[in-house]
């Protein structure tokens, strides 16, 4: 992964119509975005579509990226995630699970953190999420990484939907408060 200043340089070039820069940006970021989206959509064909739309949007609106407001990779991931959530919210989740392409593959993933170093910002966020009761930590993480709806979260945590709604609202506000007072 390139650093933020390098991604920013590429975005500025893309905003001027530089196709070679766009190709380099794609090479540097495609796998991250693909990994984020496929966790949510669980289907390769839909993920391909979303990634294609995402990069088209990046091509068009690179000039609107505000470097003071976000990190380049977060901006790109947000575009991709947003589109993926749009799609999965419009389809009923049960129908996606019934479709043969979406098979759950149980995997033995090694500790994903072993070979990573965490940025200062990420550490602070994890610390704040870590202050939530264990169930609500899981709630926030399942929602973010897997794109689960409230219904799916209610099923996963064996908790009524109204409670889930309350927990989500409260947990997010608590995380915000924690980040602001850190």
């Amino acid at each position: 992964m390139l650093t933020a200043p390098e991604l920013l340089w590429l975005l500025a070039a893309v905003a001027k119509g530089d196709e070679a820069a766009f190709a380099r940006l794609y090479t540097a970021t495609r796998a991250k975005l693909y990994g984020v989206v496929i966790r949510i959509l669980r289907r390769q064909d839909l993920t391909d579509e979303v990634i294609q739309e995402t990069y088209l949007k990046i091509w068009r609106s690179a000039g609107q990226f505000d470097p003071l407001r976000a990190a380049p990779i977060s901006w790109m991931v947000a575009i991709a995630r947003n589109r993926a959530i749009d799609i999965i919210r419009r389809r009923k989740e049960t129908s996606i699970e019934e479709e043969p392409q979406a098979m759950e593959v149980a995997t033995d993933s090694p500790d994903p953190l072993a070979r990573r170093e965490l940025s200062e910002e990420l550490q602070r966020l994890l610390a704040c999420i870590g202050r939530l009761p264990a169930e609500r930590q899981r709630l926030v993480l399942l929602a973010y990484y897997n794109g689960y709806s409230r219904e799916r979260l209610a099923a996963e945590l064996d908790t009524p939907i109204n409670t889930i709604k309350t927990w989500l609202r409260r947990s997010l506000l608590d995380v915000r408060e924690c980040l602001e007072h850190d």
């Binding site: 390139l2 893309v14 390769q44 294609q52 990069y55 003071l68 901006w75 749009d86 870590g130």
Partner: protein, 285 residues
Amino acid sequence: MTDEDFDALAAEYVLGTLTSEERDTVEQLAAKDAGYADRIAAWERRLGTLEAMVDPIEPPVELWMRIRASIVEIRPDAALRLPEVVEAVAPREILDDGNVVVLSQRVRRWRMVSTLTGAVAAVLALGIGLSRYQPDMLPTALRPPVRTQIVEVVRQAPPAPVPPAPTPARFVAVLQRDASAPAFLLTVDVDKRTLTVRRVANAPESGKSYELWLVSNKFPGPRSLGLVGGAEFSKPTLASYDPATISDATYAVSLEPAGGSTTGAPTGPVLFTGKLVEAVPPPAP
């Protein structure tokens, strides 16, 4: 609605838990009110760092060709304004080795972080629903382990040696645009490195040519195999490629000006793509 309610709504929008009707409402609010769009941006920034924990997964090679085709003739909306305080640096090389960010250690926080990282690991370990027929999609850590079987040799009767199944020499590819009608049929003899292309689609309009490309992770860009489709059968050459590259590559046909692309890369839209499959299945043992 209180200020907190507004903010919680923006937070849930970014997190992804709103229904699609609620999402529509939020998007309309953000379109009318720049302050609300700012709230959403603030939540994207707060939660956005979580992406660092997600394993990268390589998309299919041909996705890039579709993206390239879709940006042709679309101009970016506006130039990016770079504020002076922010640094932009030309990248020297592309590194595809995941996220490594230098950090400063804060011991006070570390205890909290290390308990949560277990929770994150548990969520990420849930695995993602991918067809089991595409194990290459998964990052190395997640691929199903190769199973080796140890066969006991019975002493009394040494087993007759089993001849290895002959590798099928002939492969075919159907080049088509998604699920629509096939346009080109390729027949490849991997050992002899011959390729026959039969055009099934209509001949290209006058002033245009179809050009065939070999797309492989081994090369930075597609490699031209020449023009196809002028006559019904053509014989481009694969002589300069090794059998592994030939059999794993994606083949694509783009629409170029008459005579083909002059740049060494596709300049026109990529209309049809396909991969090789075995024409003759190996005989049963």
